[in-house]
């Protein structure tokens, strides 16, 4: 029985390592590292993660999706189907989907007029995006209202004292 449990544990651990092989932190490179080491990384297959920002820009059967990983932002050229799988894009009211993209890094892409970009082979939504809650502090509202009252009072004085003269 103990033998079976040990074997099962070993199998489980080895399976875990196999499945997670593609998302080891060491394999994911920061966008800024790509910019800093563009010459060395040019033409290599890289894996990057980042938040999808703005919107997908459709160009025929492909689309541009810009991602920001906190160190920098970069355009990912991906098939339209992949772009359509992204549900939420980051803006003032949203935290966008966190993507993991694997593809070829181009220091000066010949297809896209010398763009620094990544042509993706695969896209995975690692974390789904969500709407950002916006709460206005009460103190800000009170402060704003007091100032508006003061400005209005001064405006009345200005109109009566200066303009009437």
């Amino acid at each position: 029985m103990l033998d079976k449990i040990i074997k099962l544990l070993m199998l489980t651990v080895s399976l875990l390592f196999c499945l997670n092989g593609s998302v080891f932190a060491a394999d994911v490179i920061e966008l800024n590292q790509l910019v800093e080491n563009a010459e060395a990384m040019d033409g290599q297959t890289v894996t990057v993660t980042g938040e999808a920002i703005g919107e997908a820009m459709e160009r025929g059967d492909h689309a541009w999706v810009n991602i920001n990983d906190g160190t920098n932002a970069m355009g990912i050229w991906m098939p339209l189907d992949d772009a359509e799988s992204i549900r939420v894009f980051g803006d003032y009211k949203h935290h966008g989907d966190q993507l993991q993209a694997t593809g070829v890094f181009n220091r000066a892409c010949a297809q896209h007029g010398g763009d620094v970009d990544i042509h993706s082979d695969s896209i995975t939504v690692v974390t789904a995006g969500y709407a950002a809650a916006e709460a206005v502090p009460t103190l800000k509202i009170i402060f704003g209202l007091v100032l508006v009252c003061l400005a209005s009072a001064l405006g009345m004085i200005y109109l009566n004292v200066i303009k009437k003269k």
């Binding site: 980051g90 010949a110 007029g113 763009d115 400005a151």
Partner: protein, 508 residues
């Protein structure tokens, strides 16, 4: 009727006009407020309400303090125009920084002031963080500041808020916009704003349509079109996203911005002459001649240099990544189609030097562009040629040299001296900026690049300008942007006025 008493009447005059400028900018905050309401961005809504209320209170207080000026407008002198312009810019820098600060997207009031001054001066350097998540209303405010700064905000406020603007030319010159398109300043200011607004409509529509074609949604295409036009025309360089022009991945979008930022960098007098039917002015004008010659030479040299490095393989890539940045630098726009660090890593010392030179030269006088201006370069170049001709000519032969700028003008020694003085002031500001950069450990080429970009109100960065850079550099860069935009004289007048005031108090 003279009602001024005492020695300090200048303070009342300055207070009165500065109050109107502050009030004018306060009223402009209605636009981001309406945008915030329309898009239900409630935090920015309150941020702008607070800022507008503070600005109105301060503006009205200044007007009330200087109310005697209403009956003593004949006392307004040149020095008042210069001081109002330079002082208003400082006050507005603090007031307009409030929405940035309240948004939580800047680290400090210093960073907020830096971004506002960058906007006003149409520089386009950014310390605001996480641009991809800022509200549309704050983005509108950023681009409004750069648009208004480019056309001249003092004149805008005074021309439209005051009924009598007989002496308004004084304020005009104070903001480095000394041009008289028609005999009165009100008419000139209105023409400048009319030209800008016509282009604003055309430019926004053009970029909107192109935005739809490149895959933006209709609302996003509209706001992006509006923002990018405002930045292009005012040669500002702000963009709504972190990647600046690289966000759009579009040749057509970049080409449209080239058209608008070149148009924006041309003298308003030239626009007026062409719109009035005098199309030959475009070819005869000393500024357009110097701009096209220097742009062509700089682009050719940069392309030849970068072709050697082998980074870019075809003509389109060369145009989009090299010529675009050279033109953006020369017109002092600051839109970037490469990452800031690529200048340091790929352009090499020669490429950086080319950009430094064109950034310092800048665009045309009385345009939205910065730098020491093509007109002054043309005047100095012509004066050197004239001196050589004088040396070679007979001593008995007295010749008058001329140049063409809107009309034929005599190349007088006074004009040459004035042009040379301003160029020297720019070079000193640039040298100090480079010195400070190297003191803080940045490489010479990078420090010079950033200092040239700041002094010329350009906005391209090599990676130095960042929230983490030393506070001393941020303060110096604010001063350099301010000096560069107001072309020194107004700021010197303000310093002189303050020192004079202190002396008066001391001797009393």
């Amino acid at each position: 009727m003279n009602t001024f008493n005492g020695r300090f009447y200048s303070i009342f005059i300055i207070s009165y006009y500065t109050g109107y400028v502050v009030l004018g900018i306060a009223l402009l905050m209605v636009l981001p407020i309406l945008t915030a309401v329309g898009l239900q961005e409630w935090n920015p809504f309150w941020d702008f309400i607070i800022t507008m209320a503070i600005s109105i209170i301060l503006g009205l207080l200044l007007i009330i303090i200087g109310k005697q000026t209403r009956h003593n407008k004949s006392f307004v002198q040149w020095k008042h125009g210069f001081v109002v312009a330079s002082l208003s810019w400082i006050i507005l820098m603090f007031l307009c920084a409030i929405p940035y600060l309240l948004s939580g997207h800047v680290n400090s009031i210093l960073d907020a002031c830096f971004d506002v001054m960058s906007g006003f001066t149409t520089t386009g350097m950014v310390l605001t963080q996480d641009l991809d998540h800022i509200s549309l209303s704050l983005n509108l405010w950023r681009h409004m500041l750069t648009f208004i700064g480019g056309q001249g905000m003092i004149v805008l406020a005074l021309t439209f808020l005051l009924k009598e603007t007989g002496g308004a030319y004084i304020f005009y010159v104070g903001e480095a916009k000394d041009i008289d398109l028609v005999p009165n300043v009100k008419g000139t200011a209105r023409i400048i704003w009319k030209i800008s607004m016509v282009y604003l409509v055309i430019g926004t529509v053009a970029l909107w349509i192109d935005g739809l074609a490149i895959g933006l949604t209709p609302l996003s295409a509209f706001f992006n079109g509006l923002f990018i036009f405002a930045s292009s025309w005012s040669t500002g360089g702000f963009a709504p996203y972190t990647q600046n022009m690289m966000y759009y991945h579009s040749f057509s979008y970049e080409n449209l911005t080239i058209i608008f930022f070149i148009l924006g960098s041309l003298n308003f007098g030239l626009h007026y002459a062409i719109l009035s039917g005098n199309k030959k002015e475009l070819l005869k004008n000393i500024e357009t001649q110097s701009f096209f010659i220097s742009s062509f030479l700089a682009s050719i040299l940069a392309v030849m240099w970068l072709a050697r490095t082998g980074v870019y393989h075809d003509a389109i890539a060369m145009f989009r990544r090299v010529v675009y940045n050279v033109l953006s630098a020369h017109t002092t726009t600051g839109f970037g189609s490469v990452y800031a660090r690529q200048f340091a890593l790929e352009w090499g010392d020669f490429g950086i030097l080319i950009l430094v030179i064109v950034m310092l030269i800048g665009g045309s006088a009385c345009s939205t562009a910065g730098g020491f201006k093509g007109l002054r370069v043309g005047i100095i170049g012509n004066s050197i040629l004239a001196d050589v001709k004088r040396l070679l000519a007979s001593e008995r032969n007295v010749k008058v040299f001329r140049f063409h700028h809107i009309k034929d003008q005599i190349l007088s020694d006074g004009l040459v001296k004035a042009a040379a003085l301003i160029i020297i002031c720019y070079l000193i500001t640039f040298a100090i900026g480079t010195l400070i950069g190297t003191y803080y450990g940045y490489p010479l080429a990078s420090a010079a690049f950033e200092a040239a970009s700041i002094t010329g109100n350009v906005g391209l960065s090599i990676g130095i300008t960042a929230p983490g850079m030393p506070a001393v550099m941020k303060v110096y860069y604010i001063i350099a942007m301010y000096l560069g935009r107001l072309e020194f004289l107004s700021v010197f007048a303000l310093i002189g006025f303050i020192i004079g005031g202190i002396k008066k108090c001391w001797t009393k």
